[in-house]
């Protein structure tokens, strides 16, 4: 177990390393540096002064040197300070991480609640009108652009009905973005659940369970659901990371203060330490989630647990 985790983490660290190198290179390909951007549109300084600022920030060093210095500091737990506003990157990230985690988790809970139930029912009633209805709604769900659904929900529930606040970071503010993100992702879970459950329903051990005289509900719950959950759990893990990083549009629409939004701002401002910090954090989350999924997976599937 320990050696397995160690192995996993080592591979993960390598991936993270390559990722950060790649991202650092990539982001430096983007023209414009943070100093120049800070001066945009307002009375500026002489080019020499710009150079001075760059030198102070270490941006005049060759890329490789910058990167190595950066990694050196990272290993000591120092993610550096932002170029804009000169704030500690780690603090900023950690301050927003909970928001993102909360949004992603709630959205995931909604997505799972809808997706698992619909998928299961559709699989069970495979080929009936109910199946068609559920799956068509699922496809409709994925067909909607996030921002479109978000705006419509916003205007209906917040402005028209005034049931929920428009924006902010309170508990009531969580509802709309979580629903938007949840609904669009529920469809994917529903479809996967359906095919996974159909897969399981056709397995021979289900027939065995029936042959034992077990009631249908028990067969479905104890035998089918558990066995069919494994691929679904994987997808859920994937979705979680996707929601964490990719929900920028939803965060924007609902003014939800998450890491995704900060990342895109950082990119626009070429705030290298912040971007690198974000990527690093994201990679770590991806790794943690995947380890978590492994454990969950092992818990669900004894074949992996102890062979």
């Amino acid at each position: 177990m320990a050696s397995f985790l160690a192995q996993r983490l080592f591979a993960a660290l390598l991936t993270i390393l390559v990722t950060t190198v790649a991202v650092s290179m990539l982001i430096h390909l983007v023209p414009g540096d943070p100093v120049q951007i800070m001066y945009a549109q307002s009375q500026g300084t002489t080019p020499e002064q710009l150079e001075e600022v760059r030198a102070r920030l270490g941006l005049d060093q060759p890329l490789m040197v910058q990167y190595i210095q950066y990694m050196g500091r990272v290993l000591q737990g120092d993610l550096g300070r932002t170029i804009r506003g000169d704030q500690p990157v780690l603090e900023l990230l950690l301050a927003r991480l909970p928001n993102t985690l909360i949004l992603a988790t709630s959205a995931l809970v909604i997505a799972c609640a809808i997706g698992l139930v619909c998928g299961f029912v559709a699989a069970y009633r495979r080929g009936t009108w109910l199946d068609t209805l559920l799956m068509t709604s699922a496809i409709l769900g994925v067909s909607m652009p996030h921002f479109w659904l978000g705006l419509i929900l916003l205007f209906y529930f917040a402005v028209h009905l005034q049931w929920l606040p428009v924006a902010g970071s309170g508990a009531a503010n969580l509802v709309l973005p979580a629903v938007t993100l949840g609904v669009t992702n529920a469809a994917i879970i529903a479809r996967l659940t359906r095919s996974s459950m159909i897969d399981v329903f056709d397995q021979e051990f289900i027939r065995t369970a029936y042959a034992k005289g077990l009631p249908r509900a028990l067969v479905l719950y104890r035998h089918a659901l558990r066995a069919g959950l494994v691929p679904i759990v994987t997808m859920i893990g994937l979705q979680f990371t996707y929601m964490m990083g990719g929900a920028i549009v939803v965060e924007n629409v609902f003014g939800w203060n998450g890491v995704g939004r900060m990342a895109i701002q950082a990119i626009f401002q070429r705030d290298y330490p912040l971007i690198q910090g974000f990527i690093l954090m994201f990679a770590v989350v991806v790794v943690l989630v995947s380890v978590l999924m492994d454990l969950l997976y092992a818990w669900l599937d004894p074949r992996i647990r102890n062979r």
Partner: protein, 328 residues
Amino acid sequence: MTAGTILSVRDLRKSFDVGGGLLRKSGTLQAVGGVSFDIGPGETLGLVGESGCGKSTVGKLIMKLHHPSDGAIFLRGVNIAGLSRRAMTPMWRKVQTIFQDPYSSLNPRMSAGAIVGEALTIHRIASGAEKTRRVAEIFEKVGLRADQMGRFPHEFSGGQRQRLSIARALIVEPELIVADEPVSALDVSIQASVINLLIRLQKEMGLSMLFISHDMSVVEHVSHRVAVMYLGRIVEIGSRRRIFGDPQHPYTRALLSAVPVADPAARRRERIVLKGDVPSPIDPPPGCHFQTRCPFAQDICRKVLPDLLPTGGGHKVACHVRMPDAVA
């Protein structure tokens, strides 16, 4: 190894690394643990044994689908065990194989003619009309019609697919055929015709054959000599007559007596029913691998792995216990 030997296998070994998952230790699985045998020209060696005992692995090692961990494989005197893929390419004209599952061994996206003729292109033996002619010829030989060349595997029946497989193996005119359970996936009625075909072709073309099967009656029907494997090792090898008529190893006897006889009248014969299950090749029992199930096991069996020793007449047995006369 006599001069006329086509294939000579010496102390062949193969182990696989297995495991290495969550909460699981990785280990080595010795699939083949030191196997030696010869096959002469025009001879069929039957290889029998229980599932997982390493029969297919032996076949694959000879075909160079696996690289041996140790040991030598002489094909017409050339040791192919260490050959690179490139160096092996010409050797594949001498040794060919027939797989167990006729359907999955045929590329579903290629026509029958293309599948059978592929080797002609690869080895630059023939192309164009000449290729077509030769493919047609081999089709006739295995009992297919040349006009079926344009068809696809799924349009053939199971028996016909296995014939395609045979045709593909024969088109390069090999000297040795490794047939890994060529009839196990077939229904009884079809199995018969494929067996008949194989025997006929082998005679006509003077082929040598390694015939792998778990079915004792089929092996008896096609083989000149038979090797019995148990957990990665050969426990008994000899002429068909000896193996079936006077088996020396308790496992061979048990195997023979376990085969159900298709004659209700012969029902109440005495039979040896082995206790217990086949041990795992990852963690084989000490001493003789068979000792855990052997009705005659003695102390020495639990400690010392018996060698495969000749008993005369080309017959060899790996057993510490001298058996009384055969019961079967």
